[in-house]
């Protein structure tokens, strides 16, 4: 208790609050720019924290992280360009809604859902971190494999137009994921002696190419096409947070926040699939699953509450076990260690006031995220009034800069352009690009873990069904697959 009081004192000083707010604002801006990821935003601000006391420094970085994830959905909504991998699922419904002229409504729902997801995960983080971390440790290779199979089943659910085409797109992703050094034997596959491919195809150029560049190409074609679509929509609805509309879907909010937090807490589960899982699950629970993918509020709520809940979830293993789940928390952990604090179980006993200070700072960062977006929403929607030809040129520029900045490797820019062309054709012929991303994220997790599981069991496949968590995931995957096929069949028969 004394620690909490001391921690409150550490956070509620005007300069600490100012720094957290500043971090959140910078995170929002960087997250909204395609190509700049949350991890990169944090790495950029990291040196600034060296001179700060730990809670202040971590507060700023946490603000940056929350802001970047939330900012990623602004560009996802308005431009169909996910700023971060975890906002890919947001594009599925938010962009169609914005295209209808309801950009303000789509953003309003995003803001409220992000805030609630973030706050939910902050509560879980401060109350339940140790038991959740223990649960996360029960994931061994077999469980990770089963979880990724479960994730791959979602491909069936996010391929809105045609199931077969969605599966083809998913397989393209899985195939591309085989490029690089074999994770267990160390043999090179399809690298053609290119050093940049040794560790496989970098996710970010693929993401930016498939979503942003392909969208730019589409707009260019539309611009010169018969319709001459100069602006996407000129009329603009009222832009403000949509509290009531979002809270009405409290079931979706609750389940997506839970899924986001838990998936975030399982290190190396490919964090960004959390929003896909929530989207998929919201669609299955919905009374109107056929509306998903057409600009349905439930889809936005599911993805957005989940991807912000992911942040708090990801902090759980990092702070309690010293295990960072993905790139952004790895940089955060680096920041803590440079401060002279090693995360892990001892953090709670040795530095109680600091860890509680970090919890409180995370709450504060989420509140700043809400406030900044509340005022910012009016400015965000103005983006749509910029003539599309100018906007597209700007977007392409940011994409090139952002992707180059990942590894300072020009090869990634070529890769991005290649994926852009691929994405254009995939969209044009209704294959979709989200399944490719799912395949790319989950392929390596599935492959390396099934091989580790079999190494550990000396080649005995029964580990996949004798381990309870793995068995549950595989059974649920099978059930979901049949359910989706059945839902799909019912829809096609009712349409005809």
């Amino acid at each position: 208790m004394g620690d909490y009081v001391e921690a409150l004192g550490l956070v509620f000083q005007w300069h600490v609050l100012l720094v957290i707010g500043g971090g959140t604002l910078l995170g929002l801006i960087m997250g909204a720019l395609p190509g700049l990821t949350a991890a990169m935003a944090i790495a950029l601000l990291l040196p600034l924290t060296f001179g700060m006391p730990p809670v202040m420094g971590m507060g700023m970085l946490l603000g940056t992280l929350c802001g970047a994830i939330a900012g990623g959905s602004v560009s996802a909504t308005l431009l169909n360009i996910p700023g971060t991998p975890s906002s890919v699922a947001t594009t599925l419904d938010a962009f169609p809604m914005a295209r209808r002229g309801e950009a303000g409504r789509a953003l309003g729902i995003c803001i409220v859902s992000s805030f609630i997801g973030g706050i939910f995960s902050a509560v879980v983080l401060s109350l339940l971190a140790p038991p959740i971390a223990d649960f996360a440790l029960r994931f061994g290779p077999a469980e990770y494999f089963a979880l990724s199979v479960f994730g791959l089943v979602i491909i069936a659910s996010v391929s809105s137009k045609s199931l077969i085409k969605g599966l083809v797109a998913g397989l393209i992703g899985l195939l591309i994921a085989t490029i690089g050094t074999d994770p267990v034997a160390g043999v090179q596959r399809y690298t053609f002696h290119n050093l940049s491919l040794l560790t496989g195809v970098n996710l970010l150029p693929a993401l930016i190419g498939l979503f942003a560049v392909s969208q730019v190409l589409k707009d260019v074609v539309d611009y010169f096409g018969p319709e001459r679509a100069e602006h996407s929509k000129n009329e603009m609805d009222h832009a403000s947070p949509r509290w009531m509309e979002t809270l009405r879907h409290w079931k979706v909010l609750a389940s997506s926040s839970v899924i986001g937090t838990i998936v975030g807490a399982i290190p190396g589960a490919g964090g960004s699939i959390g929003s896909f899982l929530s989207y998929d699950q919201a669609k299955k629970m919905s009374k109107t699953p056929e509306k998903f993918g057409t600009g349905h509020p439930e889809g936005i709520i599911a993805s957005e509450s989940s991807n912000n809940a992911l942040v708090g979830g990801a902090l759980i293993p990092m702070l309690t076990l010293g295990i960072p789940g993905e790139a952004a928390t790895a940089v955060l952990m680096g920041g803590l260690m440079i401060q002279g604090i090693s995360p892990g179980p001892t953090l709670f006993t040795d530095n109680g006031s600091i860890i509680y200070g970090i919890f409180i700072a995370f709450f504060v960062a989420n509140i700043f995220m809400l406030l900044i977006q509340w005022f910012g929403i009016q400015i965000f929607v103005k983006v749509l009034q910029v003539p599309r030809k100018l906007l597209m040129a700007l977007i392409l520029m940011f994409c090139v800069i952002g992707v180059y900045a990942v590894d300072a490797d020009i090869f990634n820019v070529y890769l991005m352009l290649g994926f852009g062309v691929l994405g254009y054709f995939l969209n044009r012929y209704d294959f979709g690009t989200a399944p490719v991303i799912l395949g790319l994220i989950l392929g390596p997790i599935a492959e390396s873990n099934i091989r580790r599981a079999l190494l550990l069991s000396s080649g005995d496949w029964s580990v996949l069904v004798t381990r309870p968590i793995s068995l549950v995931f595989l059974l649920v995957s099978a059930a979901f697959l049949f359910f989706t096929l059945w839902q799909n069949r019912r829809q096609t028969t009712s349409h005809s």
Binding site: A39, M40, I42, A43, L46, P47, F50, A136, L137, R138, F139, G140, P141, T181, D182, P183, V184, A185, G186, Q188, L195, S196, L197, L198, T199, N202, P267, G268, P317, L321, G322, I323, P324, A327, A330, V331, L332, M333, G334, G335, M337, I338, Q339, G340, I341, S342, P343, G344, P345, T346, D407, A408, D409, F411, P444, S448, R452, L455, L456
Partner: protein, 314 residues
Amino acid sequence: MKRLLGVLGAATMLASSMSMAADYPSKNIEFIVPWSAGGGADNVVRALQPSLEKALGATIVVRNLSGGGGAVGFSRAVASKPDGYTVTIPTNATFTLEGLGNVAFKKDDFDYIARVLVEPYVLAVRKNDAWQDLDSLSSDLKSSGEPLRIGASGVGSSTHIVSLMLGEALGLNIEVIPFDSGSAAVSAAMGGHIDGVVLNPSEVISAINGDRLTSIVTTGEERSSALPDTPTMEESGHDFELSQWRGIAAPKGLDPAIEAKWVEAVKQAVEDPQFQKAAKSMGSDISPLYGDELDQFVERTSKPLIEEAKAIRQ
């Protein structure tokens, strides 16, 4: 005429290289980190950065070129001019990459300026009452006949290679399971999915302090300050010593005068209390080495790593 121009050219080049060393550094210095921001090597460079900048009187720009598990960054460093404006952070990965044959550079393509930090490798196992120390671990494994399943931080990484070498040195049947990162291996060991890990102290220190893993033995010359109670291999009666290290290197052909300036700067930087605090929290020991001693260290450390890595490739 041509000859005169040639002589003049050579003279100006010589003069410019002399003045280059005299007014070095006159522009920003690029520090290539061949791994992404937030990794172990990146943390070291960023912790050193402020005091190095002060000592050298120049701005250091950290560039993370993280492709190919270090291959891209090191290759780029080797290919740049040895003018002292491009440096990188050599580690054991510099040697294992060569051994695995994925890269065009060799360990001799670098001029090693300094060794800054060393970290031993530590064998840490999951909680098991029969595995308190090296003796109880080996006798338990020998009586059960089971292999010891050890997680390493990646296929062909130095931890993978050291795991195999430890197995040979200790006469234990060690099976190496490569994970995607050190932290993934630690979490698998904490969850009891594998028997243990061979990693550097910084990666296992929270798990050991949190009483989830037991450290058995370290491979350093001396005990690691992060794990003062864990004996070294030498102390346990095995002739085996190999450490992970982090230092500063430039592409081959660095002007000795510039190298001397760097050595001076590193000597000052390692005295910086802020850096010492950071090194301690990262679980590393500050153990600077320069000149001939450094070259001997590089020779002694790289030889077994390159050989074993070549063997993995077969």
